[in-house]
Amino acid sequence: MNWRREEPEAARALVKEIARLVEGPLRLMEVCGTHTVSIFRAGIRAMMPPELELISGPGCPVCVTPTGEIDRAVELARRPEVVLLTFGDLMRVPGSRGSLAQARAEGADVRVILSPLDAVAVAEGEPRKKVVFFAVGFETTSPAIAWAVKEARRRALENFYLLPCQRLIPPAIRALLSAGRTGVDGFILPGHVSVIIGRAPYLFIAREFGLPGVITGFEPLDILEGILMLLRQKREGRAAIEIQYRRAVKEEGNPLALGLMEEVFRPADARWRGLGSIPSSGLLLRDGFSEMDAVQAFDLPYEEVKDPLGCLCGEILQGLKRPPDCPLFGRGCTPEAPIGPCMVSSEGTCAAYYKYGGVST
């Protein structure tokens, strides 16, 4: 992400104002992989005053997907009658018995899709195969996944299945705050998740935990302004959920997208890498659609799997450790040969540190 010609002056002004308002040590957490990448690309960490630390939370869907879920997808992919559809980022995430990419190299029919629109088309085009869509994503993606489920039903496709692995952001923030291990003074809240869910689902952060949050856009100036808005709240002794990314985020979110999500899915407890099981943080198909649930249709038990020895992805996702603290970082775990998902995903914290260089704060 490059700075536009007119931006450096505005950025300089924002950075100055941020430095002026910081009163003491402060930790702000971003909960979105796209923010993580944008912060690193634009060099924002290096612009911050030494008292202000930006930390990354559980904001990358690929990274928070536990190994046990990867294993289920790999197991399904290896069945001869199955075509497994996945978003590209998940291909190289190591499971305990290999990755989807390895399964494909060994002959499994694993295909990368860009949109749930493609998932329905594949199922329709190959009626003799069982087509399973490995559905990973946050609230931004779940409405489109819900569309695929409903469309498969409308077209009466009997060979379309979902391996539901979506996660919800607000319950993860609640779990993080309730655990009380991560010292966070405010949240840079995700822009595109919020396009769908709006402002209300985050209000508990201010009301119950007394912390500010700002729904922030992805341009470098957006992020600087979001940080400034958090600091102003701190300075004024306020804790509220505000929207910086007003050009895309409406107070109520996107009611049509939320409505379809609600029609097709119901909240359910779900496992997160590093955070364990979090109440109502996942989505399962509602009764009318549950015959498309691959876990039931293929009878796939969940097996708890430990993270690779030494891998600190779990702690990094909670903001408890930084990538350079991990004994594997850059020494055995690199983007070319990743061990943990935070190094696999292009939006993972470790991948961002590795690519752009970590700045110690």
């Binding site: 979105c32 993606t141 895309a248």
Partner: protein, 80 residues
């Protein structure tokens, strides 16, 4: 993974639209954004428009930031 890419609606038919992303055109579902008309900018995620973008809002944010920039530049010049 929650990347949203802005594009311009060039034609519309049913639930779908043709959206121009800086020269590359793609079919996009307007199911969640049926109000988008030809000429509007939409934010697109995995083949679905998830919000109509108000171009004016975007420009206003930028203007506000530029003003803040000028204010600081004046202060700097004054203090030098």
């Amino acid at each position: 993974m929650c990347l949203g890419i802005p594009g311009k609606v060039v034609s519309k038919g049913g639930d779908f639209a043709e959206v121009d992303f800086g020269g590359v055109k793609r079919q996009v579902s307007l199911l969640f954004c049926p109000e988008a008309e030809v000429g509007d900018y939409v934010l697109v995620h995995v083949g679905f428009a998830i919000q109509r973008l108000e171009e004016e809002d975007a420009l206003q944010t930028l203007k506000l930031l530029q003003e803040l920039g000028e204010q600081y530049l004046e202060l700097e010049e004054g203090g030098a």
